[in-house]
Amino acid sequence: MMQTKAILLAGVGGQGVLKASDILCRVFMDSGLDVKKSEVHGMAQRGGCVTSHVRYGDKVYSPLSKENEVDILISFEKMDTLRYLNYVSKNGTIIINQEEIYPPAVNLGEVPYPSDVLEMIGRCFNNVHPVNALALALQAGNTHAVNTVLMGALSSYLSIPSDCWEKVLRDSFPAKLVDVNIEAFRLGRNS
């Protein structure tokens, strides 16, 4: 019996967090596992915080994770990682996109963007995996593929064959974007 595992995806509206979690859930489902995910949408969310809880295993009850439980946190924005650390289990893995997206208070020059995010996180967690997803997405050919790069980085922590991921990726994008996303995924997986 496989115990329920938890992944938390977090980022900023417009970064493709929800698309990424849709892809992730399809991968789990196609691997024969039970999976549930939950997020909240409806209000004007552009530029706001977006999170998606994903839980998978043989039998999943709640779609929501509790504090100290999340096995893998994938943070799409550097500073925002700090908001969700309370969810991550002591031995959990944190994948961090190094991109900085300034919130209004930073944009208006009222407060600085926190400077030592990685060090702060490193003091509490041992498994931290920074990714320069924007650069890799650009290398793959499309800056919008940041989310797929991060799925690639995540895939190296899950025992799911690449074929399964790539099949889902092919089903998830229009034909002209498939190659870019497969490349972005591979770059992320090897990051």
Partner: protein
């Protein structure tokens, strides 16, 4: 077929499978996607009605004609639709009528957190509550069966975490039932609710409740799972999932039907366990009814009344607070509040209103966000349509003191939902307030749904499009003007002119939502700010536009300029700017321009 479906998609799927071909609703988070998904099935009729009350009446009529009718709304929508619903409980449905109420514990996108299970008891209507997408698909079918079998409207209650979670659903694609036969049925005693008939139906309602209570006793979705007899949990809906996650070995009575309750089954369960916990979000709805049976339970003395639950909240309530595994950095992280989009047509209007220092009664829509800094252009928000009545009431109560100081604002979709009658009232009762209809050509906040002024139906057919100007005129408002909210000067002079005038007036602030693809004009180039000309005055930042930032100049440049204002420079994010031009209109040094020089 095995598929990941949201609760909302599963409800639509289940309804289609069991022969429902008729649905009506009004958009509202978290219910909106049910109608959108249902409308795509072959051979169905689905409509956005102007409001929930109309949708309810439309479906009562469809059911009277023998159809299986689905009516969909968010929790506060039931308040609007309650009037017809309470009496439809008396008439019965003839065909079948299922009402979806999508509740929003934690107020993710709502103005209140009401627990609509109370409506089931209040209106004497049975209510089912699914706990995930698979149950949503099954329960909607059961709801229609109950409606037909007992000749009653039936509630299906979802919550945000059921509607907007996705989980694996298996279904048989070949099991699609045909639609019900429809026909005209005359039965005045049953459908004309004058006192002499309604009194008789009143008795029928109580008899029906008695039959439903008996049905509940053996209903297969009121399910007992006895494992560890030390603790028994009575719960329903998403709370079951959270509790089961946190305490998999306890015994459970999971109620698929939360009204009426299976009294005998609850007593039986109570006799099998040593201690009972009732786990439910919001009101102690189950708890109070179970206590009234003389059964001792633990409920709201340990579980919160407010907010949605998760496994952690339930675990903490039962076991006490768990110490965190490691000490996390204690720093304040700058917030990311929701904001109007770059290029949002509301921004110009609310910038002007904020500067005029008038009291602005607001309404439900994206523009409600403009209450926040730096715009601060909206000062109240109660419910759909409230802005107009409230502006009139304030204006009347203040008398001379309020002259020229009260403005009501309302979106196009919201105006058609419930703003027409209060505006009629303003004309009739000689109001002095100014009403502004923020006409962005769509129902933007819930994701671009059609309404009676867009010219299209939910199913994409061309439709008549109500002329807002003519409608306002017909209601008795003589003073009407139309402005473009991208033109700050025009907005300011229009609002000032109307504030100075006595009698009711309406301004239609008209420009399509910047995200609305159908009305999109050719994309404009992002604006540029010339750092040589920019004097760092920050005036443009008062718009609160996500595309505008302020950066410190490097020291060398500052050294050549003694002006204290000139320490920084405005920066326009070229990926975000939609070239609405508001910042260029505000800029006094002419630094912001359209084309690269």
């Amino acid at each position: 077929m095995r598929e990941l479906l949201s609760g909302n998609e599963a409800i639509a799927r289940g309804a289609f499978e069991c022969g429902v071909r008729f649905a009506a609703g009004y958009p509202g988070t978290p219910s909106t996607e049910i109608m959108e998904a249902f409308a795509k099935y072959p051979g169905v009729y689905a409509e956005w009605s102007p409001n929930e009350k109309v949708a309810m009446e439309v479906c009562i009529g469809a059911a009277l004609a023998g159809a299986r009718a689905l009516v969909v709304m968010k929790h506060v929508g039931v308040n609007v639709a309650a009037d017809p619903l309470f009496t439809a409980s008396y008439t019965g449905t003839n065909g079948a009528l299922v009402v979806i109420t999508a509740d929003d514990p934690s107020l993710h996108s709502s103005q209140n957190e009401q627990d609509n299970r109370q409506y089931a008891r209040f209106a004497k209507i049975p209510m089912l509550e699914p706990a995930d997408s698979q149950e949503a698909l099954e329960f909607i079918k059961i709801a229609f069966d109950i409606s037909e079998r007992f000749d009653t409207p039936v509630f299906l209650r979802s919550t945000t975490r059921v509607s907007h979670s996705k989980s694996v659903v298996t279904y048989d694609e070949s099991r699609i039932h045909d639609e019900r036969k429809t026909e005209i049925n005359f039965n005045a005693e049953k459908f004309v609710m004058v006192p002499m008939n309604a009194r008789k139906r009143r008795v029928v309602v109580e008899k029906r409740m008695e039959s439903l209570r008996q049905f509940a006793e053996t209903f297969s979705e009121n399910r007992i799972e006895i494992t560890n007899p030390d603790v028994g949990i009575i719960t329903s809906g998403i709370s079951y999932q959270h509790a089961k996650d946190a305490f998999p070995t306890y015994s459970y009575l999971k109620l698929g039907m939360v009204y009426p309750l299976p009294v005998g089954l609850i007593r039986y369960f109570a006799s099998k366990v040593r201690k009972i916990l009732v786990i439910e979000e919001l009101d102690p709805f189950l708890e109070e009814q179970i206590r009234a049976l003389g059964i001792d339970v633990t409920g709201k003395e340990i579980f919160p009344y407010t907010g949605e639950f998760n496994p952690g909240i339930i675990e903490q309530a039962i076991m006490g607070k768990v110490d965190p595994q490691c000490r996390l950095p204690e720093i304040s992280i700058p917030q990311r509040p929701p904001n109007l989009c770059p290029g949002c047509p509301h921004r110009g209007l609310f910038y002007v209103l904020g500067k005029l220092k008038v009291f602005v009664t607001g309404d439900i829509g994206c523009y409600t966000l403009s209450f926040m800094k730096p715009l601060e252009g909206l000062h109240s928000c109660i419910c759909m349509g409230a802005s107009i009545g409230m502006a009139h009431g304030m204006s009347k109560a203040l008398g001379e003191e309020g002259r020229g100081k009260i403005v009501g604002v309302i979106g196009d979709s919201t105006f058609l939902h419930s703003g027409i009658t209060p505006l009629l009232n303003m004309a009739y009762n000689k109001s002095d307030a100014v009403i502004i209809i923020c006409d962005n050509r769509t129902t933007a906040m819930t994701g671009m749904q059609e309404h009676p002024a867009t010219g299209f139906t939910l199913q994409g057919e061309k439709a008549t499009s109500v002329d807002l100007y003519a409608l306002v005129k017909t209601l008795g408002i003589d003073q009407i003007s139309v402005v473009d909210p991208y033109d700050l000067k025009a907005v300011r002079s229009a609002v000032k002119a109307e504030l100075n005038r006595s009698g009711p007036s309406v301004i239609i602030s008209r420009r399509a939502c910047v995200l609305f693809k159908r009305d999109k004009t050719s994309p404009r180039k992002p604006l540029l700010n010339d750092p040589e000309k920019c004097n760092g005055c920050r005036l443009c930042l008062g718009l609160g536009c996500p595309a505008l930032a302020w950066r410190k100049r490097d020291l060398e440049q500052v050294a050549n300029d003694v002006s204290s204002k000139n320490q920084g420079v405005a920066v326009i994010d070229q990926n975000l700017c939609n070239a609405c031009g508001l910042c260029a209109q505000l800029c006094k040094s002419g630094a912001i321009t359209e084309e690269k020089r």
